[in-house]
């Protein structure tokens, strides 16, 4: 199994090593370790240019992914609170509707959402990537399931103590579903960071690209300058690898349970 793990790891290591080769040495796969070590690929990628503002793309990606994660957590937990704890009228029907909507593949939404964003004048702005992403049903569905399992006695005590609904939501309900919120946050962040089709379609000018779209369109103009594209890839992946190393246990555990719940 250690050998198998190496098969999965090797491309990542080769990418990192090769990104430090000079553009001449990249064309020679017989050397694994760069000789000499060169930062030319990185320097070229990070140098600000009108055609490929890597730094700006990185900021765009960070802005979009953190906003999406924050809003999804907020909106989903508020709705789940209303559905699971306040039992608004028609709660069962709302959940059914949300779950049914989750079965529709994303591509179906591509064109109509494009038209709606165009109508809102949001195309080519970060709003186009942030707001539609809050409509997904996964978070509401998942948090509703978790909130249903909180014993009502906690809330009743809070009501007797004179707590309003907002305080019950914020101070009692949210802390109790914190692990589920963490899982949802991780999934949402990774999903948003890796989204490709959305920004490819909704973003028009080079300055508003997110990192994946930027790299994808950038590489087509440097087809075999692999030291450049690999350096760009390494930079684009670095934030996620850091997140992964810190939260590895949590990520793997939440992946594992996603298939086990009904």
């Amino acid at each position: 199994m250690a050998l198998v793990a190496l098969v999965f790891l090797a491309p990542v290591i080769l990418m990192l090593l090769t990104s430090f080769k000079t553009s001449g040495e990249v064309l020679n796969p017989s050397t694994i370790i760069p000789h000499p070590w060169s930062l030319a690929g990185y320097a070229k990628v990070l140098k600000y240019s009108e055609e490929s503002p890597m730094g700006l793309w990185l900021l765009n990606s960070l802005l979009v992914s953190t906003s999406v994660t924050f809003l999804v957590l907020l909106f989903s937990s508020m709705s789940a609170f209303a559905i699971a704890r306040l039992r608004v009228k028609g709660a069962g029907k709302i959940i059914t509707l949300i779950v049914v909507s989750m079965m529709i593949p994303g591509q179906l939404f591509l064109i109509p959402v494009y038209l709606i964003l165009n109508w809102l004048r949001w195309l080519d702005t970060p709003l186009a990537l942030i707001v539609p992403a809050t409509a997904g049903g996964f978070g509401v569905f998942m948090l509703t399931q978790f909130m249903k399992s909180i014993p009502p006695s906690l809330e009743e005590a809070a009501v007797i103590d004179g707590c309003g609904l907002w305080r019950i939501y914020w101070e009692i309900c949210l802390p109790l579903v914190a692990p589920a919120m963490a899982t949802l946050g991780i999934f949402t962040f990774i999903g948003s960071w890796n989204d490709f089709l959305g920004p490819l379609v909704y973003m028009d000018s080079v300055r508003s690209y997110t990192l994946p779209v930027g790299i994808a369109l950038y590489q087509s103009s440097y087809v075999s300058e692999y030291s450049l594209t690999l350096a760009a890839s390494a930079l684009g992946t670095a934030p996620l690898i850091v997140v992964f190393i810190i939260l590895q246990k949590q990520i793997v555990a939440s992946m594992a349970t996603s298939g086990l719940k009904d």
């Binding site: 793990a5 080769l14 909507s101 064109i111 494009y114 707001v131 490709f196 994808a216 890839s233």
Partner: protein, 291 residues
């Protein structure tokens, strides 16, 4: 009474932000997509948009590009789903048999899945490069001729499948491994007392126990397979000879390069129908075999 009324109002306030987003970006788009499919809306044409009935659908069924894209999509899905399931199951069993270092290996197997499709594909495009690629270099070293990894019609799709396996195996493995962990050990112990072989244990205990999770992985990977896009976009741009242009790429191209929004919407519904049919088939197929 008044406080009850205001509480009810507040509970709708909790629903409002998500509800609004759901209405604007889920419900409205479905209605728009539905009406678009029966409309001719070509942004480059002077003809104003108008209803055309089923014309978009009948055009798709006669369009050789649609046929090619449907075949490419099916080919990718049929190649990747069984290999993904078998390999992930094998890896999960391997993980379970490990006595130490299990978490590290599990993490490493999942690592590629964290990568963006663009980055994952770029790494492999460099591996597959005809002249400077690692794979052809290795082939040459053992005295074999160059392989046309991405440049030959019959090689390109399997090459994309291999890359997608590297990228996607981790998630499936982790889920199946978790399912294996949940099988109660006393079932195995009882069967072993009865003299069951290891093959018997696998067929009569392991498989039935993990079947619901297996179904989940089969269904989700099928849905993922039908949505092939990023890998083709980076590795082959849909070629050679459109052999790796899937339906999502056709929709993207039709809508945002040819600006035929109505026709592209009709294709999206056809893709949805194909996914739904496949998933229902698997659902009933795998479900029946449980009883």
């Amino acid at each position: 009474m008044r406080s009850f009324g205001s509480q009810r109002f507040t509970s709708y306030l909790f629903l409002a932000p998500y509800g609004l987003s759901f209405l604007v970006f889920i419900v409205a788009p479905i209605l728009v997509a539905l009406s678009l499919a029966f409309t001719q809306l070509d942004l480059t044409s002077r003809v104003p948009s108008h209803l055309v009935g089923l014309d978009n659908f009948s055009e798709a069924l006669h369009d050789p590009y649609f046929g090619q894209a449907a075949v490419a999509t099916l080919r990718f899905t049929i190649l990747i789903v069984p290999s993904l399931i078998v390999l992930a199951f094998g890896l999960a069993i391997g993980l379970q048999a490990m006595s130490f270092g299990r978490n590290a290996v599990r993490g490493l197997i999942f690592l590629p899945g964290m990568f963006n499709v663009v980055v994952a594909s770029l790494i492999w495009r460099w591996f597959y490069d005809g002249e400077f690629g690692l794979f052809n270099f290795l082939l040459k070293k053992v005295g074999l001729p160059h392989a046309p990894w991405l440049s030959d019609k019959s090689w390109a799709m399997p090459s994309i499948v291999a890359m997608s396996l590297w990228w996607g195996l981790g998630g499936a493995t982790i889920i199946l491994f978790a399912a294996l962990q949940q099988v109660p050990t006393h079932l195995y112990e009882a069967a072993m007392l009865d003299g069951a072989t290891s093959r018997g244990l696998f067929a009569n205990i392991t498989l039935p126990q993990v079947r619901p999770v297996l179904l989940f992985v089969v269904v989700t990977s099928t849905i993922g397979g039908f949505q092939l896009f990023g890998q083709s976009f980076i590795l082959t741009s849909g070629g050679p000879e459109r052999s790796t242009t899937g339906l999502v790429m056709l929709i993207y191209d039709t809508a945002f390069h040819k600006y035929r929004l109505g026709y592209a919407s009709a294709i999206s519904w056809l893709l949805f129908a194909m996914i739904a049919a496949f998933v229902l088939l698997q659902f009933f197929g795998l479900r029946r075999s449980v009883d």
